[in-house]
């Protein structure tokens, strides 16, 4: 049973990278250019650089939350972590943003925030939550994040260019493309 599930999941993982002749996962690949999503790449090294942007930044895709002392942290899926000042809940708002490509989740203990920077486990010193800084990195702690990180597919449905594995997708733009993938 478990083997069957595994098999199904593997098929599931592969499914969006291939055109299904039965059209189940989408129409046949068009031979002409179509309007669709094209990946915006960054190198793995550069995409793993952590920055802090002070001030309120727009929230693109709300992700999970973490409460810590008078702050709330909210993941912006694949992009980073918003820092929210919750000193007075009635006036709570975003006050800064930690840029973390591929970010999916976080946890906090003492003055340290643990999160993922793509497939790495990183530790940020939160002594001053408004000036977080990286203090440790365990490379490759989350291997599945190499092919299953939050931005590996565009947010909307339709045609898109399958991303390469040697780089990191940091965003998607609309363009006239030779589509190689389709998202239901």
């Amino acid at each position: 049973m478990r083997l069957l599930l595994l098999l199904l999941a593997t098929m599931g993982l592969c499914s969006c990278w291939n055109w299904d002749p039965n059209g189940y996962y989408g129409p046949e690949p068009p031979r002409h250019k179509v309007w669709g999503n094209k990946p915006v790449y960054d190198t793995k090294t550069s995409a793993k650089t952590i920055q802090y942007l002070p001030g309120k930044q727009p929230l693109k895709q709300a992700g999970n939350i973490y409460a810590f002392r008078r702050y709330i942290f909210q993941v912006d899926v694949g992009k980073g972590i918003h820092v929210i000042d919750n000193t007075d809940p009635a006036a709570a708002d975003r006050v800064g943003f930690i840029v973390l490509q591929g970010c999916a989740q976080l946890s906090i203990r003492g003055n340290y925030l643990y999160t993922n920077s793509l497939d790495d486990l990183v530790t940020l010193d939160l002594t001053d939550p408004l000036q977080p800084r990286e203090v440790a990195r365990v490379a490759g702690a989350f291997p599945e994040m190499n092919y299953n990180y939050p931005l590996v597919q565009p947010a909307d449905t339709g045609y898109y260019t399958c991303p390469r594995y040697d780089s990191v997708v940091v965003g998607w733009v609309k363009d006239s493309i030779y589509a190689t993938c389709y998202r239901r």
């Binding site: 478990r2 599930l5 595994l6 199904l8 999941a9 098929m11 599931g12 993982l13 499914s15 969006c16 727009p58 929230l59 895709q61 709300a62 992700g63 999970n64 939350i65 973490y66 409460a67 810590f68 002392r69 709330i72 942290f73 909210q74 993941v75 899926v77 694949g78 929210i84 919750n86 809940p89 709570a92 708002d93 975003r94 999916a104 989740q105 976080l106 946890s107 906090i108 203990r109 003492g110 003055n111 340290y112 643990y114 486990l121 530790t123 010193d125 203090v135 440790a136 365990v138 702690a141 989350f142 291997p143 599945e144 299953n148 990180y149 939050p150 590996v152 597919q153 998202r183 239901r184």
Partner: protein
């Protein structure tokens, strides 16, 4: 069960969880005390318990020692079922929610988690919260996760090695959940935030349904219910846990 869903769940199962008032009250910030961990939601794939960070990744449960919090060090890992989606700590146990059921691991030996119990149920996605005697699990049927009936599943865990299903309450699209005293909050997406009285865990009583957003997960924290909604965060005053009062919405 395609990539889209896996991605969705990666997106959903983000932050880490440590519930139960005892271990989350802000500790005095002295070197001698245990560092406080704050509190995460119920949709987590890594979590902190007993000075270790536990991470679910690629069919393994990894243990990192946080003895030096500035430099997590991997101290052990055990193979687990491949489809574990959430991890929730309680005392010396980790509750792992998978599509095949609820697995209970003992972290008596923090570097070597060991499975001590399992509650099997129809396949589903299932965030978990627990207290001394009861584990509350939400199962979402009709999705990639499986055909189980969507709803709240209440397991008696007085005997931790043999969880007993004592009650199921059908609910539409339940996702994250949070427990404050005898009040259980369950996010049901567009169907709202369900407020249950669970003073008798095997007879949850629906008190209210709140519809200010599309709810994904909740954290009751210091008298405030922090809700992760599709477009941001909504904060409710829960000085009366049974009747949340909206105080702020922080949207995109």
């Amino acid at each position: 069960m395609n990539k889209q869903f896996l991605l969705l769940y990666t997106a959903l199962f983000l932050a880490a969880a440590t519930i139960v008032a005892g271990c989350t009250k802000e500790a005095a910030n002295s070197a001698a005390s245990t560092p406080d961990t704050g509190k995460g939601g119920s949709l987590a794939r890594f979590t902190i318990a007993r000075d270790h960070l536990y991470a679910v990744s690629n069919g393994y449960l990894h243990a990192y020692s946080l003895e030096n919090g500035a430099a997590p060090k991997k101290v052990g890992y055990v193979p687990i079922t491949w489809d574990v989606e959430t991890i929730y700590p309680y005392g010396k146990y980790l509750f792992l929610g998978s599509r095949a059921g609820l697995f209970i691991y003992s972290i008596d030996t923090a570097s070597a988690p060991r499975m001590v119990g399992m509650a099997s149920h129809a396949r589903s996605c299932d965030p978990v919260v627990a207290n001394d005697s009861v584990a509350f699990v939400t199962l979402k049927g009709g999705t990639a996760c499986g055909p189980a009936t969507s709803g709240l599943y209440v397991h008696d865990i007085k005997n931790i090695t043999k969880p007993q299903l004592v009650k199921t309450v059908p609910l539409p699209d339940p996702v994250g959940l949070g427990l404050q005293d005898n009040i259980l909050y369950i996010c049901c997406g567009t169907a709202g935030l369900k407020v249950f009285n669970v003073s008798k865990p095997n007879e949850p009583v629906l008190l209210d349904t709140i519809k200010d957003g599309l709810y994904v997960d909740v954290i009751p924290y210091n008298g405030v219910l922090i809700c992760f909604v599709q477009d941001g965060i909504i904060l409710y005053d829960i000085s009366k846990p049974e009747s949340p009062v909206m105080v702020k919405k922080i949207a995109s």
